[in-house]
């Protein structure tokens, strides 16, 4: 019997040993696989277990965190949510994150290894860093001016600092309050469905994710290409262009809104936005040079990030001459985001260099220690510095005595370009009103702000639509806000 008891004891020992081996398998060998299983709520609980870092505008947080006491404890809150929604995006417990909340999620949620005081420290202590802060480049005054200027009309504003590429304003309208998507209650799902079903698309970030035909504002690019290529050498020399201009290879005649465009000089044609002159100039420059200049300004670049990605602005390289003529006046397949057009304006203001736009000045830990800083990077050279000087002159003329007088600011040097872009099948859609500009204050040595404004303005009378009438005042308000600050 003793022998059998010993056998039974060994049997029991084996059972318990099997338990230990299996527990080791689950807790050590397979642990990572179980931890990473998407159905395992622990990572989500840990993510919302502490307050999310703040996004700062003008030194003040525009976001916050609310302790709900629920399983997913902290919920995102927003101050001035609709105003900053195109910048912050939303941080939802159900629908994920967008824009800065997405691009800087590692910092904001505290998972970025750079937030750790020492390497591997958290692996040992099982601690989690508090979320860090993201300091934006935005100018709150400019942002508010742009938002108020759009006044709920469909459109967008982008403003950058020409010398650095710091984004000063990024507004999309109509907007929404991202706070309604923060939590995980049933109302969040309803808000999500309502926002997605809204025909005005309030969650669409028109400043960076929507491309529009730039219309006449693209003439800045065409003019720069013509000057760079030597097609035009003297701003005041007649351009030998007919009015109306018959598109090459077709019987279609291109006309202008106003008179006096026949054989106009580049200066006059730019100031009065002569389609005929720029269509012909585009054809004269040729697709290769025009496309190269457009690319220099940032067109056809799919990889732009600020740090969230920006939709690609396009200039079609595979065109016949008629299409090239239309492309040169910002129609046909030419499309641009408002941010892209702000970069066009900034390139002129910055001596031909296009700065890489960026939205995050620096990221910090919760105590304010800098984690990372955005450096100023020059991306492309869009044109010769001498061309830039002459382009500034052309753009100044637009504001001083051309179509853009609404943008003039007393005591400041302002350059601009209006645009009214046809779109839709047979150009039946309500045209878009554009205005791109830059401004230099009296005390400044160089322009300090470049703006692009687009107003879809579906509610306005069609004949009233013009960049100068609708979009220029908004641009002026933004520029004034920047110069005044």
């Amino acid at each position: 019997m003793t022998r059998c008891i010993k056998h039974a004891a060994v049997f029991c020992a084996l059972l318990l040993l099997a338990l230990l081996v299996n527990i080791t398998r689950v807790q050590l060998v397979q642990a990572q696989r179980y931890d990473d299983n998407p159905a395992n709520r622990r990572q989500v609980i840990a993510r919302y277990g502490r307050p999310r870092g703040a996004i700062l505008v003008g030194g003040r947080p525009v976001t916050g965190s609310k302790d709900t006491g629920e399983q997913l404890r902290y919920e995102r809150t927003y101050k001035n949510g609709p105003l900053y929604a195109p910048v912050t995006g939303f941080a939802s417990q159900v629908y994920g994150t967008t824009f800065l909340e997405h691009a800087e999620d590692g910092i904001l949620s505290g998972t970025d290894p750079l937030l750790t005081p020492f390497p591997l420290w958290n692996d040992v202590t099982r601690a989690r860093n508090p979320g860090g802060d993201v300091v934006t480049t935005l100018d709150p005054a400019a942002q508010e001016a742009a938002y108020e200027g759009l006044a709920g009309r469909k459109g967008a504003v982008a403003a950058v600092e020409p010398s650095t590429g710091r984004i000063l304003a990024l507004v999309s309208s109509p907007s929404y309050d991202p706070a309604v998507l923060s939590g995980n209650r049933h109302s969040v799902e309803r808000s999500w469905r309502r926002l997605n079903g809204d025909p005005d698309k309030p969650m669409l970030n028109r400043a960076v994710r929507q491309t529009y035909p730039p219309g006449s504002t693209f003439k800045v690019v065409t003019a720069a290409a013509a000057l760079d290529a030597g097609v035009v050498t003297d701003l005041d020399e007649p351009t030998r262009s007919p009015d109306p201009y018959r598109l090459p290879g077709t019987s279609t005649a291109l006309t202008n809104e106003g008179d006096g465009c026949a054989d106009a000089s580049l200066r006059a044609a730019f100031a009065w936005s002569c389609n005929t002159v720029f269509a012909k100039l585009g054809v004269d420059v040729g697709v290769t040079d025009l496309a190269a200049t457009a690319a220099g300004f940032g067109f056809n670049d799919p990889g732009l990030r600020v740090p969230f990605s920006v939709a690609r602005s396009t200039f079609d390289r595979h065109v016949d001459k008629a299409q090239l003529a239309l492309s040169a006046i910002g129609q046909y397949n030419t499309r641009a985001t408002p941010l892209q057009m702000a970069m066009v304006s900034a390139a002129v203001a910055n001596g031909g260099q296009v700065p890489a736009p960026y939205l995050v000045e620096r990221t910090t830990t919760v105590n304010g220690t800098t984690v990372a800083t955005s450096g100023v990077r020059s991306r492309f050279r869009a044109m010769h510095p001498s061309t830039a000087v002459r382009m500034r002159e052309l753009m100044r003329d637009v504001v001083e005595r051309g179509t853009g007088t609404n943008a003039a600011i007393p005591g400041a040097t302002v350059g601009g370009k209006t645009g009214t872009a046809q779109h839709g099948v047979g150009n039946s859609g309500t045209p878009y009103a554009w205005f791109v500009s830059w401004a230099q204050g009296e005390q400044d040595v160089e322009p300090t702000v470049a703006v692009a404004v687009v107003v879809e303005d579906a509610s306005a009378d069609r004949t009233d639509i013009s960049g100068g009438g609708v979009a220029a005042p908004i641009a002026r308000a933004v520029m004034e806000a920047v110069l005044g600050g």
Partner: protein, 472 residues
């Protein structure tokens, strides 16, 4: 009277009523046996302090303060343990000094874990009730230690035990089923699981019956394939025990409590093997187990789904229905890693239903880690080992079989439920001894420890020799 010089088997073949024999040590000179009650007291103090530390740790982690009830909790557990210790000191002075401290530590740890999970479910507080049941358990422990002067007395009540066990097993059939299993009865707001008590009673019966008939079981019968080891006993000897076993298993299948059924079967096979030394029993046992498992696994949908869950724990996740309890349990274990998250910092409440009872080990795994969980498993192993050691040291077959049976109950139960929640075997509902929420379970386990204390006391009082067999 025991005749010196006869073998154990022969002895009982001659004596039709072995339980009437006198205690073996009454005629032998009693040597001085080290009592080690001081060690027991010291270990109890350590166990109580560990539990109070855990209790404070939970409070510190959840609220940042030492919980106000810490002193009361420590005092309550301490007084219970002290009373139990005094009972042992007085009535079983030679008992194994490890058994009681292990019981105190596991019970205290269970209370801490349940209290910790209570913090996540403010509406359903289980720890106070569990504390009441623990008090009842310790009270019964004291009653058993004080009143049961000699474990051999139980041999007299073998048939009373088996009748009581069958009644207890049958009772829940007349009560509504809870969560698919008919294993509870509700009286005056308290729910009881009579199957828990039945297992001790059945262990007593198996031990008594096998001790009385083991000679007949081992040495009569016909050989199969001319192999001596595969000798089956005659139906006359085997009949009653198989009938009892079939009945209990039948009742359990009716009640859908597969875990307890598995436990009884394992207990039965182990005791049969220990009593007769026949390997054939193991072969037959395993064959029956395999057949039974296959039949139940395919035919019974409740069990079949458990097997499917075990084979594919993440099937519900892949089907988009979210994680089931087993995968939540595995997640909890995995989240613990080597050292655990620390008490109060895990999320094992995600397991949901039965997190405090069947799945309480997952909380231990998440918050104490592999290190803490291994310690707990080793505590159980020690408990089992002390039970087996008491059995080895005893001379009377009933006591040996009872000790082995009780220790095996603990081992099998730990294996079935811990293996179930950690994905080693299909999950069957069962209480983790001492740790899990459940009054019947904790009371039963205290009775098991009390019986083992009594047996170990007898074992260490008698003169020892190498093999634990009576000296000629």
């Amino acid at each position: 009277m025991t005749k010196p010089g006869t073998t154990v088997a022969a002895q009982y073949e001659e004596s039709p009523k072995p339980w009437l024999s006198e205690p073996a040590d009454s005629s032998a000179p009693a040597p001085r046996v080290p009592r080690r009650r001081g060690i027991e007291l010291a270990l109890i103090v350590v166990a109580v302090l560990l539990c109070v530390y855990g209790y404070c740790d939970v409070g510190l982690a959840k609220n940042g303060t030492v919980p106000p009830g810490a002193a009361g909790y420590g005092a309550g557990l301490g007084v219970l343990a002290l009373l139990a210790h005094l009972a042992v000191r007085r009535r079983a002075p030679c008992a194994d000094p490890l058994l009681l401290p292990i019981g105190v530590l596991l019970n205290g740890l269970g209370l801490v874990l349940i209290h910790r999970l209570d913090l996540e479910t403010p509406g359903h507080r289980a720890a106070p009730v569990q504390l009441v049941w623990s008090t009842v358990g310790v009270a019964l422990f004291i009653v058993v230690v004080v009143l049961l002067r000699d474990h051999r007395v139980l041999q007299r009540y073998a048939y009373v035990c088996v009748t009581a066990a069958l009644v207890l097993l049958a009772l829940p059939i007349f009560f509504p089923s809870v969560n698919g299993a008919r294993i509870w009865i509700r009286i005056a707001g308290f729910s009881l699981q009579p199957g828990e008590f039945a297992k001790v009673l059945l262990a007593v019966f198996f031990a008594a019956y096998l001790a009385a008939n083991r000679g007949a079981l081992a040495y009569t019968g016909r050989q199969i394939w001319r192999l001596r080891r595969l000798q089956l006993p005659t139906g006359r000897v085997l009949g009653p025990i198989v009938a009892i076993w079939l009945l209990s298993v039948g009742v359990l299948v009716l009640e859908r409590d597969l875990g307890t059924s598995l436990l009884f079967f394992g207990l039965f096979v182990v005791l049969l093997y220990v009593a007769t030394g026949r390997t054939g029993w193991i072969a037959v046992g395993l064959l029956l187990a395999a057949l039974g498992a296959f039949a139940v696994g395919t035919l019974e949908p409740h069990v079949h789904s458990r097997v499917e869950d075990w084979l594919h724990p993440f099937a519900t996740i892949e089907a988009g229905q979210g994680p089931n309890q087993l995968s939540q349990s595995l997640f909890a274990f995995a989240a613990g890693g080597l050292f655990g998250t620390g008490l109060g910092l895990g999320h094992s409440i995600l397991i949901g239903f039965a997190a405090k009872s069947d799945f309480v080990l997952a909380t231990a795994g998440e918050e104490l880690g592999l290190a803490g969980l291994s310690a707990i498993v080793i505590l159980y192993a020690l408990l089992v080992e002390r039970g087996y050691r008491a059995g080895l040291c005893l001379r009377d077959p009933f006591g040996r079989l009872l000790a082995v049976g009780l220790a095996s109950i603990v081992a099998l139960q730990v294996f079935v439920i811990a293996g179930g929640v950690s994905g080693l075997i299909p999950l069957t509902g069962m209480a983790m001894p001492f740790l899990a929420q459940g009054g019947s379970s904790v009371v039963t386990n205290w009775i098991i420890v009390a019986l083992l204390i009594r047996i170990s006391d007898s074992a260490r009082r008698q003169p020892q020799d190498d093999d634990g067999v009576p000296t000629p």
